[in-house]
């Protein structure tokens, strides 16, 4: 038998498993509906559901990561009203935040538009928010603004910020944080406009005092 590339094998294995998570989620939804909202098990079901959703989103991230790292990803950009894009993100991630009793909002100029790969940025924002869910004290804000030739999407929280987290880098159990950042970085730099590449920046949130992950996406300057 021809020897296969291990990352290709892993990617297809992840894909298979992800499908199973999808089936589990469907099954769980049925279970959730058949138990009343006052049922003491309802909380547990919601917890399982959120964990499965997160697992699914992580595997999506890994699949994209594989494709980005192996140059097999075709960027599909479109132009979006940012208000709508962020509203979608908050809508999808809200249950996870609520389950952790955290507040999740977004803020941007309602007329702001941006051009980028929607699926990729959905995965990036999701990854960043899941990460922020672990560190935030009470709130997370997704913010977007135009800074010269870049659209900047930042995910901010009121946790202890990036500095302290770096000190804990030895903690092997938290090692996947680095993977998320690497994914965000690859996704940002896959966006190129007029020789300008996207990038990410670890910063401190001025509004909330915690960490702020900024994703810079190059834009064509409109006439």
């Amino acid at each position: 038998m021809k020897k296969m590339n291990i990352s290709t094998i892993l990617a297809s294995a992840i894909h298979e498993s992800k499908n199973q998570v999808g089936t589990l989620l469907y099954q769980l939804q049925g279970l959730k509906e058949s138990t009343g909202s006052n049922d003491p098990n309802q909380n547990k079901i919601v917890l399982i559901e959120e964990s499965l959703k997160k697992l699914n989103d992580e595997w999506v991230e890994y699949l994209y990561l594989y494709r980005l790292a192996s140059d097999g990803y075709n960027l599909h950009v479109d132009t979006f009203l940012i208000d709508e894009f962020l509203d979608d993100q908050v809508f999808a991630l809200q249950p996870s935040a609520t389950a952790k009793k955290l507040q999740l909002d977004y803020a941007c100029d309602t007329s702001l538009t941006g051009t980028f790969d929607e699926r990729l940025m959905t995965a990036v924002v999701g990854t960043a928010v899941y990460n922020a869910l672990r560190f935030a004290e009470s709130r997370i804000i997704i913010r977007a603004e135009q800074e010269e030739a870049f659209l900047v999407i930042s995910i901010e929280d009121d946790g202890k910020g990036f500095m302290l987290e770096d000190d804990q880098a030895d903690d092997l159990f938290e090692a996947n944080t680095g993977l998320g950042l690497y994914f965000a970085e690859l996704s940002a730099s896959a966006h190129v406009v007029n020789n300008l590449s996207g990038f990410i920046k670890k910063d401190t949130s001025i509004a909330l005092g915690g960490a702020s992950l900024k994703v810079y996406l190059p834009q064509s300057i409109k006439d």
């Binding site: 894909h15 992800k18 499908n19 998570v21 999808g22 089936t23 989620l25 469907y26 939804q29 049925g30 699914n56 999506v60 699949l63 994209y64 990803y73 075709n74 599909h76 950009v77 479109d78 132009t79 009203l81 709508e84 979608d88 809508f91 999808a92 007329s111 538009t113 051009t115 699926r119 406009v193 064509s220 409109k222 006439d223």
Partner: protein, 403 residues
């Protein structure tokens, strides 16, 4: 966003996996849909779309062994089985997304990625229907081929809803191509490309150049599209058109063979390859293409007599130089049978079918059978059931029977 009333909308759900189908049907019922039709595969969906109209079509990309969701969409949009006013939502898995996005010409109105919750589906559908409502006049004009009206309606929508500017510009550009205002279309696509590198705009630009006769510029832009997105196979079809226009059939044939390697299930592309190959006296390649087309036609909107007749013709042309192998003769008989079953009520089709049959039997050194077929043909001509053979045909056959 206002809560949508789905109760009067007719939905078609296309999904091959029982579990997902039951789940999605339940979700739609919970939103308030009262009319939900179900198709487990593309062929059933086509039958349903032929017999009634739907407002919302929710289709999985992966539909098992037959046609996939994208091919289904292309066929039903191309043959206008679904109006522009209907909403088509494609359900995808992460791995199929790129394939779907490669289709620039026929895109669904939206995508949703599995697994999704009821809340996400409801919200996505609600938004899509809202957009459809805003574009209603535009889509009605497109459905009645009134492109001037579509352009002016799109301009109004754009003004009122700036977020729909991309969709409207696309409609305007493509409508300008339809009414042959190629220069205006080109300048619009260029204007879009200045601020946003949208694949449809680059595609429109390339097509504008093609129609303006600027074949080299057109080729350059189609090649750029192929570079940008290796899944955009339509660019190959256009490149082949250019090569035909430049009188380079060999290159066009090679281009189509490559495109078919990437996307073998497109029946129109197989037909085009067959046509080019016949024109350049390569009946072997033509036969292969038409044989596949015959196979694909069965479950397709393009199930026309032409597909089958062309397959017979290509086999008849092979027999011109050497008599058919048993396998080829079997193929001939099988396609012949399909014509007899479905298309044998048209005098011209009958005449063509008889002539290919006679060619094959003459080449197979069986003039007796050929003669019998010719006599059957002539008696059908008497009764008005078939078109008469040409003088050349009669002369040729009589010579063959006599010799």
């Amino acid at each position: 966003m206002a809560q949508q009333d789905f109760s009067k909308k007719k939905a078609l759900l296309i999904e091959d996996m029982a579990e997902a189908r039951i789940m999605q049907r339940k979700m739609l019922t919970d939103f308030g849909f009262t009319s939900i039709d179900i198709a487990m595969k593309a062929e059933t969906a086509i039958d349903l779309l032929r017999s009634r109209s739907f407002d919302v079509i929710l289709s999985d990309y992966n539909l098992g062994n037959g046609k996939d969701g994208q091919q289904l969409l292309e066929e039903v949009r191309h043959s206008r089985l679904i109006p522009h006013t209907a909403t088509y939502l494609m359900v995808t898995a992460e791995t199929s997304i790129e394939m779907v996005m490669g289709a620039i010409e026929y895109q669904p109105d939206g995508y949703i990625t599995k697994p999704f919750s009821q809340a996400v589906l409801q919200r996505r559908l609600g938004k899509l229907l809202e957009t459809k409502e805003r574009l209603y006049k535009v889509n009605v004009a497109l459905d009645s081929n009134n492109f001037e009206e579509a352009i002016s309606a799109a301009k109004q929508v754009m003004e009122k809803y700036p977020s729909l500017i991309g969709k409207c510009e696309r409609v305007i550009g493509e409508s300008l191509l339809e009414i042959k205002e190629y220069k205006k279309a080109l300048s619009l696509f260029n204007k879009t490309l200045k601020s946003r590198k949208m694949p449809w705009a680059l595609f429109g630009k390339a097509k504008s150049y093609f129609y303006m006769g600027e074949l080299e510029k057109a080729e350059k832009n189609f090649r750029q599209l192929m570079l940008d997105n290796r899944f955009f196979v339509s660019a190959y079809d256009w490149l082949a058109k250019i090569q035909i226009a430049q009188d380079k059939p060999e290159e066009a044939q090679a281009t189509l063979v490559e495109a078919i390697g990437r996307s073998p299930k497109n029946i129109l592309r197989q037909m085009e390859l067959g046509k080019i190959s016949l024109s350049m006296n390569d009946p072997l390649t033509a036969e292969m293409a038409y044989r596949r087309a015959v196979f694909l036609a069965k479950y397709s909107c393009y199930n026309t007599a032409e597909v089958y007749l062309k397959h017979l013709e290509s086999l008849a042309r092979i027999s011109d130089s050497e008599s058919l192998l048993p396998r080829q003769k079997d193929n001939f008989d099988s396609t012949l049978k399909k014509i007899h079953e479905s298309f044998f009520d048209d005098p011209d089709i009958k005449a063509k079918t008889y002539s290919y049959e006679i060619d094959v039997y003459i080449a197979g050194k069986d003039p007796l059978t050929a003669k019998q077929i010719f006599e059957a043909w002539l008696s059908e001509v008497q009764s008005g059931g078939a078109t008469a053979p040409t003088k050349e045909q009669s002369a040729l056959y009589n010579k063959a029977f006599g010799g």
